[in-house]
């Protein structure tokens, strides 16, 4: 079965600093999804990547999928306290079943 490894497990950065979160899949990704979870809330969809080499940006968050479609990164530029939360990558195994998730990266931003 497909597994997703996220790194780092947790991250504390100073406000204004850049950071990167990585997600590595044990199998080729048919679709890679990034979600954010705030404490006590459900997951909110951020971005989805499907093609090798694809890159998407929204405000200060950029997600990339490598050419081999087995690794993705999420980069936040000039972090703010509002970026704090748990970031999870999810993968569509291609079987039309459900999303499976990595173990999440907890981000704290200190002001």
């Amino acid at each position: 079965s497909q597994e997703l490894e996220q790194s780092p497990q947790s991250l504390i950065v100073q406000e204004g600093k850049n950071l990167t979160i990585n997600c590595t899949s044990s199998k080729t990704l048919y679709g890679l999804y990034w979600y954010k979870q705030k404490y006590g809330e459900g997951l909110i969809f951020l971005m989805m990547l499907q093609k090798g080499g694809e890159e998407k940006s929204h405000e200060k968050i950029t997600a990339k999928l490598d050419e081999k479609k087995q690794q993705s990164s999420l980069h936040i530029t000039a972090s703010q306290p509002s970026h704090a939360g748990i970031y999870l990558c999810g993968a569509d195994s291609g079987a039309g079943t459900a999303l499976i998730f990595g173990k999440g990266t907890t981000l704290s931003v200190s002001s």
Partner: protein
């Protein structure tokens, strides 16, 4: 209007009890899910229903029984609760064929078994 709503938000109970968590979605989606998030924030799929039919049943103890009375509802019943069942349970819904960027989550039910 909340798209995916779960009740209760918090559930504290004794070992051995039976409890239910309810989930309702008003998005007109045909697929609903239950996920379990453990204390290390690992989110794992438990069940998936499409048009009231079970399509995913991951390795979950028989004490967990999902019930879908209609497409808009997927309830989770847990018998003989154990300490290890303590977790946050998330309900989610999507429309088959529309991709998981349209996967909507409820805000979770924090279950504490004492």
């Amino acid at each position: 209007d909340t798209a995916v709503s779960q009740t209760p938000k918090y559930l504290v109970t004794q070992m051995g009890n039976d409890k239910s968590i309810k989930c309702e979605q008003n998005l007109g989606h045909d697929t609903m899910y239950w996920y379990k998030q453990d204390s290390k924030k690992f989110l794992k799929i438990m069940f998936s229903y499409n048009n009231k039919e079970l399509i995913i049943n991951e390795t979950v103890p028989n004490r967990f029984s999902p019930k879908s009375p209609d497409k808009a509802h997927l309830n989770l019943h847990i018998n003989s609760l154990e300490l290890g069942d303590s977790a946050v349970y998330f309900c989610a819904s999507s429309q088959a064929g529309q991709g998981y960027e349209k996967l909507f989550f409820g805000s979770g039910t924090q279950l504490s078994v004492l």
